[in-house]
Amino acid sequence: MKLNYRVLVFIAAAIFGLALSAPSLLNLQKGPKITLGLDLQGGLHMLLGVDTDEAIESKIKSLASSVKYAAEDEDLIIDEFKVRDGKIGFELLDKDDMPKMDEILKKIEGIAVQKDGLKYTVSLTPQEIESVKKYAITQAVDTIRNRLDQFGLAEPTVAKQGEDKILVEVPGIKTPEQEQRIRELIAKAAHLQLMAIDEERAANVDRMTPAEAAQYGDVILKDAQNPNRKYLVKEIPILDGSMLTDARVAFDKNNQPVINFSLNSQGAQIFGDFTGKNVGKRLAVVLDNRVYSAPVIRERIGGGSGQISGGFSVKEAHDVAIALRSGALLAPVFMEEKRSVGPSLGADSIKASMVALITGFIAVVVFMILYYGIAGAVADVALIVNLFLILAIMALFGATLTLPGMAGIVLTVGMAVDANVIINERIRELLYEGKSVAKAIEQGYANAFSAILDANITTLIAAVVLYAYGTGPIKGFAITMSIGILASMLTAILGTHGIWQMLESKIDKNRLNRWFGIKLEGGR
């Protein structure tokens, strides 16, 4: 027996396979491990859509607030200030203010201004709308990621998918209740607004329709705790959550949970100015279009901090604070696709496919030995190394093992012996033709090679297409199949060839039945 490079490569592959699949199989702490797909370990998979129109609307509203603030800052008197159909409209009272107004508008990027006498109409340019939409999606990705990170779950995945979708994957969810809480946390718009109550008309709010309110540039909002209570607030907020820097849960003197928030310097200045000018009036703290409190302003509030109180449970306050801290969702998200798998189902799936894998494996191993004798055993060795190699490569690249992926491995077991079947058949043929054992082996490998190569490459083409067009579990299937094919090229062609070269001198031509499962007629 002598070693050759093929056997050495094969042994190296076997060691590599064993060493790198051990952490996954034995569940060791150290070393690279195969990630189990959500369908095997349980978890939540969601594909979210983003309602970008909403982002445009809120962009316009916040644009309106800043135009209004800038105008007031310069002491320009404006009238009929309204946001309608994605456009801001207002009228200057004094013609002399026009240059100043133009100056203010010129500083704002991405807007188109139309003038009709003293009437101004401000709208977003198409490019700006496009970029707002894009930003809304990336911002939503960041926001959702932040929220899930702060929630403290194991390795959630949040990624943009395609043009306008967001993929969220959260493994390790134990109960449906927990899953629901996560979904709620993601869905929270967390859109904080501080709005002025329209004190002139507030008394009539119960008799007003939303259309009437809109005529005065107001909106009607409901109370967070008591939906029968309504507030009439100015449509354009004083400021919104984009100027928020922090939000924390605290407890008030009655030991009720409240959320303390702080604003950045710009927000603090706007807040201070507004409260200074509006002492005695009410300020509504609005979260996701519901009024949480509407305290009367007693004095100028500097320092830029405020409080949202009322009706939170501790859990809720905690989630709201997370949502606020991680930023508002500029555009609401909605569910396009959701798959959730309980941990027990995942465990059952693993168990069932393991049973199938082991049974199928034993069947193939036994069959090969019965049919080919030692040649079958050699193929079986290659098959075993092949299995470990698949696991090792998957662990090394951090590939995800899914249920169809398990099926892919099971299928590979069936197909991986194919190469050896082809080779062994060729060797048998050559032996029947009366070739020497050494020659039969060498030629058998040479003859079989092109068929195996062509067959494997075509299967790889199908696998690559599957990977490119599949989602989640299907991708997992394509990955295991591709790795299986590549690994079988190494083990079934190179590895077994090396083993034969090593055994060559031991093969007894008179005992071909034992070696290749055949008998030569006429005692040749």
């Binding site: 993601i186 799936s349 496919s353 043929e429 062509d454 067959a455 075509t458 696998a463 067009y469």
Partner: protein
């Protein structure tokens, strides 16, 4: 042990008309089934919601049907046992866009009081995603076939490529027919199974074709039918063996892999049988039908060899530094 032992070519090609007629009937029947009965699209492609519930003990299926009756969301829902009688699935064609509370949460509330249960799986696919998945699926099939066509044309000859793709279409058609016939729910995993069949059956066909390609230069007869008969007979033992081992393994998957993988493994079983059959009885006769000419091919090969020899000669001359 030996199943087949090559002694002399089996005259398969002389009987190819019978197999052709058989396949034609099977393919036509499949399309009739597909177009009349149609696919039973699962939620992946049709959109909708699936809730899988496992009870402690036997699932009270009547109680469940009663419990969800009151809800508008579950109008027209189907409730069936899933694998065993302690597990059920509720399927409904509606989906919800809401994140906060979804159909699974609603089901949980409705089923309260029907016994001790655990919701193990909630899958919801919106209609838009369903459409996209279907389009992508068809695209994947088309692209895979196109890629294969290109590769086989490049490695063999265009007639081989067309024959292998026609054999593939034959296999996939019959597999799809079986899916419709046995009312298997078509989800993403079924698509994966179809693509696997594509790979597997092609694998088989290519190995036979490879032998024919070899036979074209080694078999003495210049009749294509003889070449094919000899080549197919020589690969018969390999084809059946590999199909057998793969069949074993997929069968264990079908029997022991659990309900979730049932449709997948069923489709594969059909595909393995049909794929093996077609690589022997359909793919090669197709070559004959397309008028593959052995003499012509040999002539071309000889020319190619001559050109290569000349090139080698030229190169050798250059290398020696004399022209």
């Amino acid at each position: 042990m030996e199943l087949f032992r090559y002694k002399k070519p089996i005259p398969l090609m002389s009987k190819s008309k019978i197999f052709f007629a058989l396949s034609l009937i099977a393919v036509l029947a499949s399309y009739v089934l597909i177009f009349t009965k149609g696919f039973n699209y699962g939620i992946d492609f049709a959109g909708g919601t699936l809730v899988q519930v496992k009870y402690e003990g036997k699932a009270p299926i009547d109680k469940v049907r009663e419990a969800i009756k009151s809800s508008k969301t579950f109008e027209g829902a189907s409730v069936n046992y899933f694998g065993s009688d302690d597990e059920i699935v509720i399927k409904v064609r509606t989906s919800s866009k809401k994140l906060g509370t979804d159909i699974g949460d609603e089901a949980r509330k409705l089923l309260e009081g029907t016994g001790k249960f655990e919701i193990r799986r909630v899958d919801m696919v919106g209609p838009k995603v369903g459409n996209e998945l279907r389009e992508k699926g068809i695209m994947a099939l088309v692209l895979a076939i196109a890629g294969i066509l290109l590769y086989v044309s490049f490695r063999f000859e265009w007639r081989f490529a067309i024959a292998s793709v026609l054999a593939l279409v034959h296999d996939i058609s019959i597999a799809m027919g079986a899916i419709v016939l046995f009312n298997v729910e078509v989800n993403l995993d079924i698509l994966a199974a179809l693509l696997t069949i594509l790979g597997y059956s092609l694998n088989d066909t290519i190995i036979v074709f490879d032998r024919i390609r070899e036979g074209l230069t080694t078999v003495k007869s210049s009749k294509l039918a003889d070449v094919i008969d000899e080549s197919v007979t020589r690969t018969l033992s390999r084809t059946t063996l590999t199909s057998l081992t793969t069949f074993f393994v997929v069968l264990t998957l079908f029997l022991m892999g659990g309900e979730i993988i049932h449709g997948f493994s069923f489709t594969l079983l059909v595909g393995i049988i049909v794929g093996t059959y077609s690589s022997i009885f359909i793919a090669s006769p197709l070559l004959m039908m397309m008028g593959f000419d052995v003499e012509n091919y040999r002539k071309k090969l000889a020319e190619k060899k001559k050109r290569e020899q000349e090139k080698a000669k030229m190169r050798a001359m250059y290398e020696q530094g004399t022209v």
